[in-house]
Chain length 342, copies 4
């Protein structure tokens, strides 16, 4: 029998409701290139839930495309991005942003997050003009690549600073669902829309087969955006494929419910492991658990479960990473804890 996987949050296909929506709408004839009724409906739901009735919204297939298109749309060739050195665009997208011509100014984050101080220092260190690229856009992720989240105060501070210094604020929301469903979170989708110039909401990790929604609340950035979507290869002939799925996610509370389930499964794992006396390498804010376990136990767990051994701690202990998702089976969580116990 296959071992149950806690490797990542994209091991399964789509949430059944999402797949059923694809099934139910499959044979209607629709306009191509995102002008179908489902995409339009999805955009209406998103405008409502983000609280910006005038925002431009574009649905694309994946996160790297969302980043390429958003950043490429916003910058002139000499303008640079400020990003954490752990940022997804910095270390997990094969130089995709540089490939469209822009410099990344990397900074050391604080628990995966940028702060006003960090950004200000980057500005100070990149001011020898015109010999240095001009910092123009701040890239942040929420949740971050480390699973941490921004508070409303933290995001507001960054937002005000950016406005004051002529910087655009762009938020990568590959795991925005997990962030908003975090027990620590005090941000709503309307705050995200208000405090950033442009951001995207990840669907791939919250129950769709694929798809992310780029939301442009700063109207001055919306002009000709669709040219960039097309030029970078992201304008699907059957735009309905993403439209149907996002429409299903945001018609009701499904997006938030699925993200909450993932976080709850992580919390359950985290609590169970702690209660058995094992330490965590980091607090469990979203859907990732970093636990420190003895090697012998790890070896035993690997016989029934898949997960990453994150790093060695001592000669007989290591950190393992467990990732949960909308699809995580509570019985498997219990089985895992049961195996830890015995």
């Amino acid at each position: 029998m296959a071992r149950y996987s806690f490797l990542d949050d994209y091991s399964e296909g789509a949430h059944p409701s999402v797949l059923n929506a694809l099934l139910a709408t499959n044979l209607t004839q629709q306009s191509p290139y995102g002008d179908d009724e489902y995409s339009n409906q999805a955009k209406e739901y998103l405008r409502e839930k983000t609280g910006v009735p005038t925002s431009s919204i574009h649905l694309v297939a994946g996160g790297t495309l969302a980043n390429i298109i958003s950043i490429g749309n916003c910058l002139r060739p000499h303008e640079a991005v400020i990003a954490a050195e752990t940022g997804h665009i910095v270390v997990r997208e094969t130089g995709a942003i540089e490939a469209i011509g822009h410099k990344l100014i990397t900074v050391t984050p604080s628990e995966g997050k940028l702060t006003v101080e960090i950004i200000e220092k980057a500005l100070d260190n990149n001011a020898h003009f015109p010999h240095m690229a001009k910092p123009r856009l701040v890239y942040i992720s929420n949740a971050t690549e480390l699973g941490t989240t921004y508070s409303k105060t933290e995001l507001s501070n960054i937002s005000s600073f950016c406005k004051k210094r002529g910087l655009l604020l762009f938020l990568d929301g590959a795991r925005l669902g997990a962030a908003l469903a975090s027990a620590n979170n005090d941000l709503r989708l309307t705050d995200i829309a208000e405090l950033t110039d442009i951001f995207w909401i990840g669907g791939t990790k919250v129950g769709t087969l694929l798809g992310e929604a780029i939301v442009i609340s700063n109207q001055s950035l919306a002009t000709d955006f669709s040219f960039h979507v097309k030029q970078r290869g992201a304008l699907l002939a059957k735009g309905r494929v993403i439209g149907v799925q996002f429409s299903e996610l945001f018609r009701s509370n499904l997006f938030f419910d699925l993200a909450l389930h993932a976080n709850q499964m992580a919390a359950k794992l985290s609590l169970g492991i702690s209660e058995m006396g094992y330490k965590l390498a980091a607090p469990t804010e979203t859907n990732q658990v970093f636990a420190i376990l003895p090697n012998a136990l790890i070896a035993r767990l690997e016989k029934e479960f898949k997960f990453y051994i994150w790093e060695k701690v001592t000669s007989d202990q290591a950190v393992i990473r467990l990732v949960t998702s909308w699809a995580t089976d509570q019985k498997q969580v219990e089985a895992f804890l049961d195996r830890v116990l015995r």
Copy 2:
């Protein structure tokens, strides 16, 4: 009631078998980024059907991505593409190839097709080195943007010439299904693989929700290809989404059957219209019909059907374009012909 659409071949979702395959496999846990069992299975089917057991195959979401990645992978910055001035990369992809740095040398095709003579003339006119970009890759489409197809002799001639002159041959197969299912066709998938260096097979227009398969038969072009897939934003976390669909298309003869249905519906429309005494603006080789009809008739047809008025012929006649697909309902074809008659 909605008018039935003959506007394009991507108005519906996926063929039911394809969608059912997504449903049936939905909750299995799979490795991400195209290393799932369905993608691997699809690649095996494709290697078999293209007759190149060693070929590298990559599944991506759309045609523009397939073109960007394939061309970007093959060329150095100073190398240029020879393409018909009607080519998709020339006039329908928002400068996507130029956006990754390459010049398109455009030539006037013969019925949408390139010939050895045309390519040779392009070489002659672009030889003032190093002041001119170096022609290095020939881009062709089959079926072409005009719905015409290459014969085996035509493709073989181009292929030999390219080998002789150090040019790479790349075939855009957005409508390769329609071409191979054409009554005129004498090319098999194995010929395409043998005669080109790299080509792609379109799924979007033959029954998938999305997806195209890039096949690299020239092994020297396969090195590090996956970096390009990732860098251009085309490496889906849930690669299974395309893998499942292509696996279903090529497990059996489905791909060819669907393409044949589309062509047959077009042939039926074409024949019916001709038999009623109307002329065609072009022979019907694949799934597009160009018919010359009186304006009054066109106005009447538009009340029940959607199609493009392609161009004015005289003050009271115009060419209309009818596109059929795997999903075209034979009853609607008959209803259309019935309305032409009355």
Copy 3:
């Protein structure tokens, strides 16, 4: 003894006055990167002579750099350039503009020149948005690559049309000197500045060792221009090198005098050849002469002079091209005519 060359207008170094200015200023200590007193002085002269006291001016080493920087500064990634298919950026710069990401929409010119009709047709043919790149900048050269020149009426018409349709007008002035010194010319430097958004004045072909002056009269395009100069490698540490030379060219009437000499030498050749009964393949507007001569005569001339055989006319006649410059020796012109005669 070396054969005298009529091959091009950059066979010699700099005009002696220009070289002497380099000598005279050589050992003063100056600020780097174009902020030296000579560059500033040159810019003052140019602002005066172009009649735009507020224009931004940048001195760069060569024409391709001037084109890359100017176009790259003006366009967003999805915006395209309309250019004659004979344009220098189209056929003599190795795809330099595509290499920075922009599509060239090429059109067939009329005697090397664009017209309102030609530009309007390009707009009509490139309007299927967002599937087509957006035409945004019109590129023209004066003199053109064929040696022809724009009249004031012609340039005014294009300028008005561009303003009306939201297009930027960019003029490549590699041979602007020759154009302004043409007997046909009714444009002044102030007209060029007024009618275009951005243009450059070539020094390389009018007596400098190297160097072209980019003049931005449309202030909205001047922001951050120097970043582009630096990013594309054109910000010389010793900016004085070009500053001194342009200062010398524009301190007095030298630029215009040198261009006039080149044209006069061409006129003399042209007239002499005509008077001996030979035909011209094109009227001599600037510093290029296209003469139709018998092959036997051509062979005789080649023993003492260098020039290009441009194209075959009949089995015993061909067009030759003679180019003159500020450095052309009148005695050699006379010797050439003498050899034609005998």
Copy 4:
């Protein structure tokens, strides 16, 4: 009277011999685009002095162009550069390398220099393929941006490691003259050519008006290099301008003599300041002196000399930077020391 400047090593024009060579050759007629007799002669001298008779050599106007062209020629789009975070391409070229599509992987150097350990760690940290760009080229400068130099052992170690790991080694020689003339130096030009794949020799800072010579000793990198020179705007019509100057520099020992003079003037300043009891902030290896002086003295010196105040040390002391060059007047060095004394 103007204050004497120790601000940088490009305040003056060209060394008189270099300028005289331009004068002496000015009116000969030459082939354009670097195929003149002076450029060919310069390349011969350089092939001799670098000990690689088959190397390809290209003369370009400036350092950023040399870096853009060299790196762009060597890499495919997904390949990245490893560079010190203080590297010129990282912090002083406005994102020029990213602008042509390549990621810079930045590392913390040791005294401005890379080591095998540093490079190896960068490889380890950038191995998550294909999600990370592929490290392919190592960029170093000699002298470094901090004025330090590589020993033969240091460079040999890096070179061997690069060969072993499939990395190309590229050396930016903007101040290669200063490095080779350093008292610490044990590298010869032939070593540089042997140990790197491609490097360039700076002329701008050693007595030319402008110009750098790119030397490609690894023949596999030389194919089509001139296309890149042209495409990036660096192919001067009058290539002779740089050819004459490099020919003059390398005909005799002039290049090395000029570099030595600059270093000697720095040594004299350094020694004089030390002997008066002031400390240096860094040892003086090449032509830069970093001295720690009291603020009152600095204020007094600034009345007669120009230099940069590099950083504050205490409330009444600061580091100043003095840069010398081939043009530095020994009398001014003595006057400076005299003013320090009194």
